[in-house]
Subunit: 149 residues, 2 copies
């Protein structure tokens, strides 16, 4: 596996803070369900089924932390009550580009694009807002799903 972090450090190791049994377990679950989306409830249940219980607050707090650090993507799905999280593959430099989420199939599409890059500048100069692009998710319908109709 190729790492983008110097020194061979893995992406998930960028997670700051202590390394604990609970955090390892949560990351494992996320990685195993890489392409799908998981709610806090899902993660908690999966861990409990493995008799490796982790408190729900811990799951909430850690997923929030991972989202802030760009290790997982946090997003909402229309019609669903709970927030979803998705692990970002470590070989992709996810902090440097944008993401589009298909509202139909759930696919997370990585996008590198100069035009979108310029948006950050535009929003700063015209709207006085300092954009944190890595957190933004563009929602819509992907080509596959559109054509499939």
């Amino acid at each position: 596996m190729i790492s983008i972090i110097k020194g061979g450090e893995k992406l998930e190791n960028r997670a700051s803070g202590y390394k604990t049994r609970q955090r390892d377990l949560i990351l494992d679950v996320l990685k195993k369900h890489g392409s799908g989306h998981l709610t806090v409830e899902d993660v908690t249940k999966l861990l409990n089924d493995n008799s490796t219980a982790v408190g729900k607050s811990t799951v909430y707090r850690y997923l929030e932390k991972l989202a802030e650090e760009g290790i997982v993507k946090k997003y909402t799905v229309d019609g669903e009550r709970s927030v979803c999280y998705q692990y970002l593959d470590s070989h992709k430099a996810c902090s440097n580009h944008y993401h589009m989420k298909c509202e139909k199939c759930g696919k997370l599409i990585h996008m590198e694009c100069e035009t979108v890059d310029k948006l950050t500048e535009h929003i700063f100069t015209h709207h006085n807002f300092r954009l944190n692009g890595s957190k933004c998710v563009f929602y819509g319908i992907c080509d596959d799903c559109y054509k499939g109709e």
Copy 2:
């Protein structure tokens, strides 16, 4: 006002069921905020400020009904807990609007902007993705919070 319904019938008159004081008030509020989005809480508060109180359950139930009938659009905004509703004005039905959310103070800033509008087109032509702009939220730091430091 030009109606898109044949025979001069207005859009909101498509709403089935009884015509009541409460329903008229709710529709009024929605129409006045046509370009923005409103939560159930927003609608309820606006009515209460006008000392024209309407029960919250009524707002929930009526907005849900209007959404089912296609008179308003129901959607969630990334990162927001509450569901949003937008009146579908026949003139503005296609106009997208965007939101910026300050990661510090939590303020949600409404933004209408041609440059950002072009983004929808760009993402469609270059990335084959049909953007649902109203759901997208740009995260960052607002000017007030930046200056306040």
